[in-house]
């Protein structure tokens, strides 16, 4: 058994580089139950950064979905800076020898064995596997360190973490979202066309006093009944208890639930009619 696993020695630096280059838009190598031994075991003269997460809806990992795009951005930015890996001078730098970095991603649904092996009971995790000379199987389980998730901008935190563990400089390039730009452009264009076509109606709408007064009324009502509080704090709509009881109001002067905004705006409207 042991012999067999030694036989599946790790990829060489060049192999991984080609593998990365052959990936599509995101330069992250997918890891699954078929290939994880091959990738992680054995001798390495490069860094591996592995993201373990899941996009499966049953698991409903919010942080995974939040973090994964940022992970891809960091990986792509690294590849954009180093499409052919680090240069010879950098690799053989006398003072501080540097090693290449490769990014891996493992989806829980496709690599249950690996998740079991690592004894994961919560995700997402980002592991950094440093260069290693160990050739024993499964040694990678012991030789990694873990990225700590903090509040903040994930891509920047991840980049600074990687900088601290690899000693390399990570720049971040955020790709412009062309589809968003295109959609906006189409909308703006259609809107302009519509206005040009129905100039008179548009003018009537824009100068309609009832319309404006109702917009302002709704706006003011929402704002004075704590809409911004709900937006900023992200408080839940209602609070449900384990026994099925539902709270629509919470005590305290500096606290409220989402539904309170709606209730209050209706109460205010009622009073407003009453006083008018």
């Amino acid at each position: 058994m042991a012999v067999l696993q030694i036989a599946v020695a790790a990829f060489t630096n060049e192999q991984l580089l080609t593998l990365t280059q052959n990936q599509g838009k995101t330069k992250v190598i997918p890891v699954n139950d078929q290939n994880f031994q091959k990738i992680l075991s054995g001798e390495r003269d490069y860094h591996l950064v592995l993201l373990l997460s899941s996009a499966v809806p049953q698991i409903n990992c919010v942080l995974c979905n939040e973090f994964h795009p940022d992970f891809n951005i960091v990986a792509n930015s690294w590849f954009q800076d180093h499409p052919n890996g680090l240069s010879e001078e950098e690799l053989n730098d006398e003072d501080s020898p540097k090693k290449n970095v490769y990014f891996l991603h493992s989806e829980f649904a496709e690599s249950r064995q690996l998740f079991q092996l690592l004894q994961l009971n919560n995700i997402p995790k980002v592991y950094h596997f440093p260069p290693s000379s160990s050739i024993k199987a499964n040694d990678y389980i012991k030789e990694f360190d873990e990225y700590q998730f903090y509040q903040g901008v994930h891509r920047e935190l991840l980049a600074s973490y990687l900088k601290s563990v690899t000693g390399l400089q990570f720049n971040i390039y955020i790709p412009p979202d062309y589809s968003k730009i295109a959609i906006n452009a189409v909308f703006a264009f259609t809107f302009a066309l519509l206005i040009r076509r129905y100039r008179k109606e548009a003018y009537n709408i824009a100068t309609s006093r009832p319309l404006w007064s109702s917009i302002i009324l709704v706006g003011v009502l929402l704002l004075i009944s704590g809409y911004m509080f709900v937006q900023i704090r992200g408080v839940p709509y209602v609070r449900e208890h384990a026994n099925g009881r539902v709270d629509y109001f919470v005590p305290g002067q500096q606290n409220q639930l989402g539904v309170e905004t709606q209730i209050l705006s209706f109460v205010y409207v009622y009073y407003f009619q009453f006083s008018d």
Partner: protein, 785 residues
């Protein structure tokens, strides 16, 4: 012929009526001023004539310097004791309006041979200015509706808690005078706009200058007036009145505001002021276009207009991009971002997020601060749409903008309060006008219309609750009835009432009769009485605490004063050398400087984030790491606030995570927030607390010898409701110097380096008779090899 609901005296000459009303108005305003001042004196009566909270202590200290040394000395004042060892150029980093105001009052009173102490002037400045605010709100509302609405608005703003919270006696802060200046500037702006008078425009500019000199929130005016002008332009309401008013305000106001050293060239460089500049430019272009149009034919003008609009737009965009790129226009400031992108501050600027005043507002605070005004407010705003004169547009814009800001930041409730009072007064006085007005509209002549109205009116039980009336019948009534009130509401009342009175034909009963009127009026008066009661209750219970002195009640209900802060500050003042540097979290910097008169490392003027982070790092690292930091900053005493014994929740352990976060922002490698949580991710101080937490200087200083107080029993932290470990932390590099009566303030002395050159830990161990662990004797020799 109009019918009357009740008889009016008919033998009065018009002159008598005018004179009496104006006399009554003056008396009413005098009473309102009196009430405004009186309701702010709770703090002085319940406690004493003392400066409150944190920032006022700095203002007070600066005012004393101003009064003692004169204006020029104050202008050039460099304060070496703040932000030790950096110091602070006070003259150039302060809004001097408040201090100058008290200084002038002081000089005048002394010239009149009234030897009033400067402290009393400072304490009573805010109540005094609140009566002026009431007056200026009266003037402002008068321009919008009439005198009676004005009086109501003045009464509302005089006692509304939303304004009182910032202007009780002793809260000697910039806001104390700023709201008066805000309202008076707005009043002058409206007046200038209405009359097209450069005189009022200039007065507005002068008060704008005063505002700039007094409060950083002047940017609100800087953007409100341009926004109003822009809205008027978009509505096609350009007029030479607008041109004159805006140009005079902008030109004079901007030049004047640049005279304040702290503001300097900001009005032409920062984004906050760009709107004003842009609208000014736009107005010039439009004025020029109007001039050209009056001279050339309309076809030529069209071509000219198109060409110039495109050209100018292009050039303008280029210029702005170029200037921003070159760095001549300052980048968008963090405060600006945090107002628009509400997640910004949370992510990038922990120091902004840490201030509780910058938290968003939940609706209970709105209700607490404004009570029934909050639901009259939307009504008043909608009523502004009826006439929609230029000044009503102003109120509408002000309402929506201020509600947004108040929703984002609790402290900006202050800017919302005036417009709420104005709008609520408009709504309320409309109600009163309608129901007190004795004139009864005549029954509609049109039979068809009235029968249609009858069917609608029959299912109306409460006359003041409007039900949806079909547009047709509304119109029909409008055409036929000689309603004295205007607008949809008047029509509605007319429709409802005319239907009923037409049916019954009675005089003193029914919807038009005195009885229904009295029901509504009594209800309104009831609301007012309840409002006054609420305001008094809130003011006396919630907003009048000086926070320097805490009050609790004894079992028998009598008041018990907790005076730990002053006790500790006076201990510092009397028992330490004048040059002793005190380190504390920045919240207490101003108080230490003001009351203890000792140099501090950081204070509430949070201009240097790194320096604050240094203090945060010292507080959140272990003794060994913190000690060199303390010694390098010449710290002699460290002061911490600890509420665990009496349950004072605003203490340093509760603020501790912010110290960690701010320190982490600068030293992410050394300080990490998760290390301060337990394994389960809880913030705990008991046995389960994480080692990093237990070793941190803040934890040690807070709980040093705390368990001993309970004599072997379970030591309980009353704020966090957790058991404190029985063997408390030990201190090697610090010594307990002073702990106040209720343990709220604890002061530690930083030990000097050991005379024998040992590190303090081993010196301590030696003094306690502990045996030093022997190091391997071979190791030294090995190293030599």
């Amino acid at each position: 012929m109009t019918t009357k609901a009740y008889a009016l005296p008919s033998d009065l000459s018009p002159a008598t009526v005018t004179n009496t009303t104006s006399l009554l108005r003056i008396i009413a305003l005098a009473f309102i001023s009196g009430a405004a001042i009186a309701s702010r004196l709770f703090a002085v009566i319940n406690f004493e004539s003392i400066i409150h909270e944190f920032d006022p202590w700095f203002n007070y200290r600066a005012t004393r310097v101003l009064v003692a040394d004169g204006f020029y000395e104050f202008w050039n004042w460099f304060d070496p004791t703040a932000w030790y060892p950096l110091g602070r150029v006070v003259g150039g980093t302060v809004y001097p309006g408040l201090m100058a105001t008290s200084g002038v009052i002081y000089k005048i009173l002394h010239a009149l041979n009234l030897p009033v102490d400067i402290r009393n002037i400072c304490v009573l400045l805010a109540p005094g200015f609140s009566s002026l605010t009431a007056w200026s709100t009266y003037m402002f509302t008068k321009e919008l509706k009439d005198e009676s609405a004005g009086l109501l608005a003045a009464a509302f703003i005089g006692i509304v808690p939303g304004y009182i919270s910032r202007s009780v006696a002793g809260s000697y802060d910039n806001e104390a005078i700023a709201i008066f200046l805000l309202m008076f500037t707005f009043f002058n702006w409206i007046k200038a706009l209405k009359t097209g008078s450069a005189f009022f425009g200039t007065i507005a500019a002068l008060f704008y200058f005063y505002m700039v000199a007094a409060w950083g929130g002047y940017a609100f005016i800087t953007n409100m007036i341009p926004l109003h002008a822009l809205a008027l332009l978009l509505m096609g309401r350009y007029s030479s009145r607008l041109y004159v008013a805006y140009s005079s305000w902008y030109a004079v106001g901007t030049l004047a505001s640049m005279q304040v050293p702290f503001v300097g060239f900001q009005p032409v460089r920062t984004s906050e002021h760009m709107a004003a500049l842009g609208v000014f430019g736009l107005l010039q272009i439009i004025a020029f276009a109007e001039l050209v149009r009056s001279h050339v034919s309309s076809k030529q003008f069209q071509t000219l207009l198109y060409a110039s609009v495109i050209g100018l737009g292009f050039l303008g965009t280029l210029a702005i991009i170029g200037l921003t790129y070159k760095g001549w226009i300052a980048p968008w400031t963090g405060r600006f971002y945090s107002l628009w992108d509400t997640g910004y501050a949370k992510k990038y600027i922990p120091i902004i997020a840490s201030v509780s005043e910058h938290q968003p507002t939940a609706w209970p605070s709105f209700f607490m601060d404004l009570q029934f005004l909050i639901f009259l407010f939307p009504a008043g705003v909608v009523m502004c749409f009826r006439e929609l004169r230029d000044e009503h547009v102003f109120v509408i814009i002000y309402a929506i903008v201020a509600s947004y800001f108040a929703g984002v930041m609790v402290r900006l409730m202050l800017t919302l309060t005036p417009v709420v009072c104005v709008a609520a007064a408009i709504a309320f006085s409309t109600v009163l006008d309608t129901y007190i007005n004795p004139v009864e509209p005549e029954a509609p002549a049109d039979e068809a219309a009235s029968s249609e109205v009858n069917s609608v009116a029959s299912d109306v039980t409460n006359p003041s609750t409007p039900t949806p009336v079909s547009k047709k019948s509304k119109k029909a009534v409008k055409d036929s009835s000689a309603s004295s009130t205007t607008g949809p509401f008047g029509d509605l009342v007319a429709s409802v009432t005319s239907g009923k009175s037409g049916k019954k034909g009675e005089r003193s009963f029914g919807v038009f009769g005195l009885d229904t009127r009295l029901v509504v009026i009594f209800h309104a008066i009831g609301m007012l009485i309840f409002f006054v009661w609420h305001c008094t209750w809130v003011t006396s219970n919630a907003y009048s605490s000086p926070s320097v002195v805490l009050a609790s009640s004894n079992p028998d209900g009598s008041q018990h004063i907790i005076d730990d802060f002053r006790e500790a500050y006076y201990w510092l003042r009397q028992n330490t050398p004048e040059t002793a540097v005190v380190m504390s979290w920045w919240d207490y910097g101003y108080q230490i400087a003001g009351m203890a008169d000792r140099p501090t490392l950081v204070d509430n003027n949070t201009w240097n984030n790194t320096h604050i982070a240094t203090v945060g790092k010292a507080m959140s690292s272990s003794e060994e790491v913190a000690y060199p930091i303390l010694r390098k900053h010449d710290v002699d005493y460290v002061l911490v606030i600890f509420g665990g014994l009496i349950g004072y929740s605003g203490d340093d352990i509760n603020k501790f995570l912010w110290m960690v976060r701010i320190a982490q922002g600068v030293w992410p490698d050394e300080i990490q927030e998760p290390n301060y949580f337990t394994r389960k991710g809880e913030y705990k101080i008991d046995d389960e607390a994480s080692p990093t937490m237990k070793n941190s200087l803040m934890y040690k200083m807070s709980y040093y010898r705390y368990a001993e107080l309970f004599g072997g029993g379970q030591a309980l932290d009353r704020v966090r409701g957790q058991q404190v470990p029985k063997t408390g932390p030990t201190l090697d590099y610090l010594d307990e110097a002073f702990t106040s009566e209720n343990w709220i303030v604890r002061i530690y002395e930083v030990k000097k380096e050991d005379l024998l050159g040992r590190d303090l830990k081993s010196a301590n161990a030696f003094a306690q008779g502990k045996k030093r662990k022997r190091t391997k004797p071979a190791s030294r020799r090995k190293a030599l090899l």
